[in-house]
Amino acid sequence: MVRSDAKSRRRKKHISGGDEIITLNNVSKAYATGAPALNGVSLHIKKGEFVFIVGDSGSGKSTMIKLLLRELVPTSGDINVMGYDLTRIRHRKIPKFRRNLGIVFQDFRLLKDRNVYENVAFAQRIIQVSNKEIKRNVPSILAIVGLAGKYKAKPRQLSGGEQQRVAIARALINQPSILLADEPTGNLDPKNSWEIMKLLEQINENGTTVLVVTHNREIVNAMQKRVVTMKKGVIVSDEEKGGYIDED
């Protein structure tokens, strides 16, 4: 009797979390040196949400992103992403897990020796999509990010904004459920920053859950999305349609 109760409770919990795509429960992460980068963080994100993560430099935002990618494992606490228990996932399963994530970084991380087409196609080659399909998919995704005419260019021939679009195209081409972006506009001028954010918003409107780490106060305030603010490894505020919290 008691056992079946426990079982059904567990199942219920699972069901109630059905539309929750990212769950952090009391997560801490300490590096070998220094104070913990994350300290007892709990965060729940539902499918299809658009969430800004803001906070001072060193507050633990990138650490959180790395935990969500399973680049790092938490020191304590539980992380569940798309039903994968990231504290227990097997090494062999990590690639499969990551194929459902799109990732965008501040420094673009493009392959410098390959052109735009190959940079995007790369993501599909890795998951063994056929050449025929790649030829069909890449141009359409490049059109979505507004780079249809530049598929032959090498990264160094592109502006920062264009390079970030290539990175976004690469992140999107495998149709991820979640897009994680760590300061995607950190190296861009205001105009390009706006365009990239609008692109991310558009991607979110098509159903992808989007998490954006940013320092861009103006954009955060204007876009009226959920804003999670971090400070010294803890979440200090989490608001629907929030704004950038002024510290001082």
Binding site: P95, R99, L101, I103, F122, R125, I126, Q128, R170
Partner: protein
């Protein structure tokens, strides 16, 4: 695995090779040197063995009998010798035959002055062995046999040939072992450099969800390609050299042509080509797989 993935992996492997040309070249050169020496020694040892075998087959022990021995006793001795396992063939030469042969060979028309056979006591058995290393045993047996006056043999020649052959084989095995180790070390270094050059790319691959296999395979292909090229180059060189060298020896030392019987080029390369390719690719595989395991924790 998909065909397109297979070709992609091969292509990346080749790109790796060209990306660090100098290390790849060094690896190819070392493997090439290793397999060149292997091929060279193989050709020498094989030819040596064939020469020794030919020489062995032509080498015989000759026995002469006591003066005044009876024809029956000679036949008895013949039967005893023939029964021994190391003996492949035994030929009887009567005194008359010996004289006739001698006349023909050395005297020609001057032989007319002889009325009786001066080689009266030179009837003999020529004994051919199936295994030249058994010669000493046979000789001591013959020396103790009643009715035998003299045993002629060519022991020195036989043991020298076998000894030199063994020496060549030992030295070649030693040198090849050293080069083998150097080759694997160099391939490993080449692959390590390749990995460090592509660190960023490997990281991106991992973020996108590449499997360990997908990340590692190009480096293993790289190693195997280096091994393959490193095997084919020396084989090609040896093939050309082999015929040239034999031609040269035959021309220059024409006296030896009867003694030396070289193997045809196909006989050598039918074994040498697959053996070298397997060794080259194998070294490439070993060198890269161990390195990838060590340096590419994905």
């Amino acid at each position: 695995m998909r065909i397109s993935t297979f070709f992609y992996t091969i292509k990346q492997g080749i790109i790796n090779i060209f990306r660090n040309k100098w290390f790849s070249l060094a690896s190819i050169a070392t493997i090439g040197a290793c397999l060149f020496l292997f091929g060279l020694f193989y050709a020498i040892v094989m030819n040596f063995q064939s020469i020794v075998k030919n020489a062995e087959e032509g080498m015989s022990v000759t026995v002469f009998f006591d003066n005044g021995i009876s024809q029956e006793r000679i036949q008895e001795i013949g039967a005893m010798i023939e029964k021994r396992t190391e003996v492949s063939k035994i030929v009887y030469k009567s005194a008359d035959e010996a004289w006739a042969e001698f006349k023909e060979e050395y005297l020609g028309e001057y032989s007319d002055g002889f009325t009786e056979n001066p080689l009266e006591n030179s009837a003999s058995y020529e004994i051919y062995l199936s295994d030249v290393s058994m010669q000493p045993a046979l000789v001591s047996y013959l020396e103790e046999t009643e009715g035998i006056r003299l045993v002629n043999r060519s022991e020195v020649m036989a043991s020298t040939l076998t000894g030199v052959n063994a020496l060549v084989a030992y030295i070649s095995v030693g040198i090849i072992a050293i080069l083998f180790a150097v080759s694997i070390f160099l391939i490993s270094n080449t692959v390590t450099i390749g990995i460090s050059v592509r660190k960023e790319e490997i990281n991106i691959m991992k973020y996108i969800g590449a499997t360990d296999f997908f990340v590692r395979a190009p480096f293993v292909i790289e190693g195997m390609m280096i091994g393959l090229v490193g095997a084919l180059i020396p084989i090609g060189i040896l093939y050309v050299l082999y015929e040239k060298v034999i031609e040269y020896i035959m021309l220059r030392f024409s006296i030896l042509t009867k003694l030396l019987s070289f193997l045809p080029v196909e006989v050598i390369f039918n074994t040498l080509l697959p053996a070298s390719v397997i060794m080259g690719v194998g070294m490439g595989f070993l060198g890269s797989v161990t390195t990838v395991r060590k340096h590419l924790k994905v």
